[in-house]
């Protein structure tokens, strides 16, 4: 029954209030001494037995203040008015625990981020701090001692994405002796790096340093490699994820196939390879993306295979020495049980066709950087010869344009980190292989890491002509004599201070990096969030770049933002280290903030049954009662608020606590002015 009358019952709790100066961060705007005195006098009737203010509550001395008071004054509740709970809630909870008080009987009140730093009126800020402390005190009265819920951690790990970041993470974990499932969407692992020819600044051949790692992954006893597969569903929580993976049909029996490649030779159907050859080269209907592919089993492209079109051909089946071809192989659904997940899903390159005034897709001899990588690659369509679109003529003048689609309000605002160095690499390669004149059109030359700038100076010494200016247009409309048959780059040379029209034979667009086209869906699938343009959001941009808000889900490489290969590798290793840390713990303490159904009160009305995206809520037909699986429950409290009978109890954020906090914030139960002595 809704009881209305009756004054507040006498408070039995013994509460300690601690107001932090935080140097001048709080004390600069809030009269902390006055807030402490106010709490001691006006909240005495609400159980406050001691109220102190101290310069740095989070310091060890500050924490000792709390511990001493708990022991000597027998405090049963602690309220700390300081910075944000996201920073030091754990600090003060552990301090209370050290003094024998259950950590969940401590409540933090934010008077820095939400008061002193955002208000200027000192008096109003002090009143607001008093209200916040009163809210905290009223709330903490209703806190209960809670024990964290421990769940076992499954030592297996899922790595999504077989690029260099994913490979590094997989090897680190597998070498540490734990099982790793790697799921890769393409037929082979290797990611974008496998498409490159040389890497900057060392000019190592990309394949030479990548393929050994790929082979390690392919052959590692602790790794189950699933290429040509995609994650379809993720359920569960940290330590106990169950992941549904669809292994798309390769139409090749991997147990029999030896990777000899005869089927690729004999297959009559030639198709433009959009992915690996970036549209410059061809592949067959049955193919492995590149010779050093791992795994080496080919994949049948059903959209272009003649058999699937007209039911004829079957050349691959005829010539396969181990008859490993199986046309009616079906997709296979596999469920993996893993403890942690690392997302290393990589990036997409910017679609250069969107910059219509650079003419990519209209003017034959305009290439993107990925196409240039294939041109310079010995295993590429032109066996490493840098030639024009006709496949024969060697260019005499090449223009390389930086920041295509990056640092541009019309397209991508961000700087894509690697295009400057990549463009310098191309300049060097063109010099080395063709002796052509090379122009680099840049707005700012960004060469920040080790040996990067030295590489830039070396390219300058080789005679590359640097023009500082944003290219306005690439056109084949000749105007001045000597421009016939050439591509003219119209640019304002900001150092020379004049417009220039530079005729070249070939233009290379250094396109930027951007998030995967489907990064939003992927984020939703794994329960993490994306930034506005699509990069995965890390737990903290500076201090926690590989973790996410969701426990047990980590991110590495370009999925988190544009970066170069060394950074991707180190993030892969960092994510692996975090996972190994979790595995070492064997079990994990989950926040005890959960929901639970009070059975006698539940009338089985089933209003709550459909409200939980983590399917923690199950209905028992026999007893006509609902039950919540505490391990699956993430503690969001939506069902607690929705239950019409008030039969679902939410620890940590129950109704009494929030209603009391409201009364406290509105200063309803403040004792009257102390009579001046």
């Amino acid at each position: 029954m809704t009881k209305h009358n009756g004054s507040k019952p006498e408070v039995q709790e013994r509460i300690g209030v601690y107001v932090c100066h935080c140097g001048t961060n709080i004390a600069g705007t809030v009269d902390v001494v006055q807030v402490a005195e106010w709490a001691a006098s006006r909240l005495k009737t609400r159980g406050v037995v001691i109220a102190r203010d101290y310069k740095f509550m989070c310091s060890s001395l500050g924490q000792e203040l709390i511990e001493k008071d708990i022991k000597e004054l027998g405090l049963t509740r602690v309220v700390v008015a300081a910075c944000s709970p996201h920073l030091h809630e754990k600090t003060f909870r552990t301090a209370c625990a050290r003094a024998g008080l259950n950590p969940f009987l401590c409540e933090m009140v934010s008077i820095r981020e939400q008061v002193s730093w955002v208000h200027t009126d000192k008096e109003a800020a002090t009143i607001k701090s008093q209200a916040a402390v009163s809210g905290g005190v009223e709330r903490v009265i209703h806190h209960e001692a809670l024990e964290p819920l421990t769940v076992p951690i499954n030592p297996a790990t899922l790595v999504v994405g077989g690029g260099i970041a994913g490979i590094q993470a997989t090897l680190e974990i597998a070498d540490a002796g734990h099982h790793v499932y790697m799921v890769e969407r393409e037929p082979s692992i290797g990611g974008h790096m496998a498409q490159f020819d040389k890497t900057f600044p060392t000019l190592d051949c990309a394949a030479c340093i990548l393929t050994p790692k790929m082979v390690d992954v392919g052959g590692h006893p602790n790794v189950t490699l699933m290429t040509w597969s995609e994650v379809e569903k993720v359920e569960g929580y940290v330590g106990n994820f169950s992941v549904t993976v669809r292994k798309k049909a390769r139409h090749v029996k991997t147990e029999d196939c030896t990777g000899c490649g005869i089927c690729q030779e004999k297959c009559p159907k030639k198709v433009i390879d959009e992915i690996y050859e970036a549209g410059l080269g061809y592949r067959k209907a049955i193919y492995t993306p590149f010779p050093q592919a791992v795994p080496r089993f080919p994949v049948m492209d059903v959209d272009n295979c003649i058999y699937f079109e007209k039911g004829t051909c079957k050349a691959c089946e005829k010539f396969c020495p181990t008859n490993a071809i199986n046309f009616d192989q079906q997709d296979e659904i596999v469920t993996l049980e893993v403890g942690n997940i690392i997302l290393a899903t990589g990036y997409d390159i910017f679609d250069a066709r969107r910059v219509s005034n650079y003419g990519y897709g209209r003017l034959a001899n305009v290439f993107t950087s990925l196409e240039m990588e294939r041109l310079t690659n010995a295993a590429g369509p032109t066996n490493g010869n840098i030639v024009l679109r006709d496949g024969k003529t060697v260019p005499e003048a090449v223009g390389i344009i930086h920041c295509v689609g990056s640092r541009d309000r019309n397209f991508n605002n961000h700087c894509s980190v690697i295009c400057c160095m990549q463009s310098l690499k191309f300049a060097h390669m063109v010099h080395e292989r063709t002796g052509a004149i090379v122009y680099n059109f840049y707005i700012d030359m960004r060469t920040p890491f080790k040996d990067y700038d030295e590489f830039y100076q070396r390219v300058m010494e080789e005679g590359t002509l640097f023009v500082r200016g944003k290219v306005a247009e690439v056109t084949d409309a000749t105007r001045l004599p000597g421009e016939e048959g050439k591509l003219i780059i119209q640019v304002e040379d900001t150092l020379a201070g004049k417009q220039r029209r530079i005729p070249v034979d070939m233009v290379v667009l250094s396109v930027g990096l951007q998030p995967r086209q489907d990064s939003n869906e992927t984020a939703k699938l794994f329960g993490i969030s994306c930034s506005a343009n699509g990069w995965f959001i890390e737990k903290h941009p500076k201090l926690d770049p590989v973790a996410t808000m969701t426990e047990g889900i980590y991110i590495a490489g370009c999925a988190q933002g544009p970066k170069d290969i060394p950074a991707s590798v180190s993030q892969g290793a960092a994510a692996a280290a975090r996972v190994l840390g979790k595995i070492e713990q064997k079990e994990m303490a989950l926040e005890p903030v959960r929901a639970s159904v009070i059975e006698e009160k539940c009338s089985g009305c089933r209003i709550c049954n459909d409200l939980c995206p983590f399917n923690a809520i199950t209905f028992h037909e026999d007893r006509m009662v609902t039950e919540i699986n505490a391990a699956l429950c993430q503690g969001c409290g939506t069902c607690v608020a929705a239950c019409p009978a008030g039969a679902i109890y939410g620890t940590g954020f129950n109704n009494e606590q929030v209603l009391a906090q409201i009364e406290g914030l509105l200063l309803l139960n403040v004792g009257d002015e102390p009579v001046p002595a």
Partner: protein, 165 residues
Amino acid sequence: MNNNEIFEPTIIGFTCNWCSYRAADLAGTARIKYPPNIRLIRLMCSGRLDPTFVFKALASGADGVMITGCHPGECHYLEQNYKALRRFHLIRRTLKGFGVEPGRVKLVWASAAEGAKFASETAVFIEEIRALGPLHWGKSNGYTPFGGKPPEFEPAPESPEEVPA
């Protein structure tokens, strides 16, 4: 409320731990100033918001309530802010039945990166409530809440004698 002439509203704000509370924190670290009239309560998710909290705040002296959470589609718990959205609509309709201007309860989505937006939306809402004037549920010109001293209630001016025969 201090009794000088400008009315300083008191507003209770409900924030969700993962987005709008962090937006408020970010407004702090970025030192973005906004008026002190709002007092924030941290819930785990905007889905935890119970209409009881809104009515309790309004009945206990708040002049306005601001409900904040992650943008639809970006909820840390995937879709729970949609339930907050649905409840918000029904809360406003019910409050209209109580004669409360719907403008006194506002829903604002703010992601963890939108400290500036949180501060500006708060400042705008405070001015909107200042325009609507004090709510002071149950109190009117010193009258004790809900009953107590019966008012002198004399609707009829003239006495029965003037009634024509």
